[in-house]
């Protein structure tokens, strides 16, 4: 006889539970972690480097580098700034998940850190589904990608706590309707903190780093 069992369990429940465990561990040590997501080439590494420059004097930082291949280009750039970067090679996987993040944590002396920046794999689809246990999810969009991205990749705009619009120095050269872009964002994630900036010229960076430093201080308080 066939019997029906009602379940209603989130398919990624196991990942989410592990993410909560990661979060507890970070909280115990007073570390704020942020998960930076973006498409390839949006400027994740550039923004991390700029952020390190701005905050290294005030906060103790480290970086987790998610890469799909064992190429250490990004990790090397960060290490060159004197900041510890631990690389997670996903072996072709399209995103980081809570298991990988958990495995990276013991490589840091968390007690000696204020801010842990996670650079996710460049991808606008998969990272959105996997919580890591970080305190903030941040999305980096960039002007040359086009102003229609919120409409085409709504999912990743839904679950983030801050949005960077990078490469605003290119606005005079590419068709990008900022108002159209931001209307899409506002519809998907009302009231989202948005930081238009340029890693190249430095314009707008201060608002972002001030916001991030405030997040880190709130955790320590």
């Amino acid at each position: 006889m066939v019997q029906r069992i009602a379940i209603v369990e989130q398919i990624l429940n196991a990942n989410d539970l592990l993410a909560q465990e990661n979060r507890r561990r970070l909280d115990e040590q007073g570390v704020v972690a942020i998960n930076m997501m973006a498409s390839p080439g949006a400027g994740k590494t550039s923004l991390i480097l700029r952020t390190i420059e701005a905050l290294a004097g005030q906060l103790r930082l480290a970086v987790v580098e998610g890469d799909t291949a064992p190429v250490t280009i990004d990790a090397d750039k960060i290490s060159a700034q004197g900041v510890l970067a631990v690389q997670i090679n996903t072996g072709g996987d399209c995103h980081l998940d809570a298991v990988m993040f958990q495995a990276a944590l013991p490589q840091f002396d968390l007690k000696q850190l204020d801010l842990l920046i996670v650079e996710n794999v460049g991808n606008l689809i998969c990272p959105a589904s996997f919580q890591l246990g970080t305190h903030c999810n941040v999305l980096i969009a960039s002007v040359p990608e086009g102003d229609d991205k919120p409409y085409k990749y709504p999912n990743i705009y839904r679950g983030v706590d801050a949005l960077i619009i990078n490469k605003i120095d290119l606005l005079p050269y590419v068709p990008f309707d900022m108002d159209y872009f931001r209307r899409g964002v506002e519809a998907l994630n009302p009231g989202l903190a948005v930081f238009p900036l340029s890693c190249r010229t430095g314009e707008g960076l201060e608002a972002w780093t001030a916001w991030l430093a405030a997040q880190a201080r709130r955790q320590r308080a």
């Binding site: 006889m1 379940i7 209603v8 429940n13 399209c94 995103h95 998969c126 999912n155 519809a187 998907l188």
Partner: protein, 113 residues
């Protein structure tokens, strides 16, 4: 792209509940997947056939209930699926909208014997 991890999770949940119910075998799984979840049914089915082998869930049928991406217009309460390059309400043109459906991603029930 990450359907293997997702399918492993589905199998884990299924076997846990089937064991609790002391079921001999799992016949059907009813999955609810929103359009925003970016999961390919065929790919889940492909992995399922491989990883469910030699478990009580081998050969179980996967039913996918797809939930379309839907927005709710906060001006006129129209529910609609955005098609094209705007989230504007097709009835009144307002862009004051809220995501109403499409983010579902869960195992609703299983049928066992």
């Amino acid at each position: 792209m990450h359907e293997l991890a997702v399918t492993e999770s589905i199998l884990e949940i299924t076997l846990r509940y089937a064991k609790q119910a002391q079921a001999r075998r799992v016949v059907t799984l009813n999955l609810v997947i929103g359009e925003l979840a970016s999961i390919v049914d065929d790919s889940v089915q492909f992995y399922w056939d491989i990883i469910s082998k030699d478990t009580p869930a081998e050969g179980a049928r996967l039913n996918f209930r797809r939930v379309p991406f839907e927005l709710l217009c906060l001006e006129c309460t129209e529910r609609f699926t955005p098609r094209g390059e705007s989230f504007a309400c097709p009835r009144c043109g307002s862009e004051r909208i809220q995501v109403a459906a499409g983010e579902e991603f869960y195992l609703d029930s299983i049928e066992v014997e």
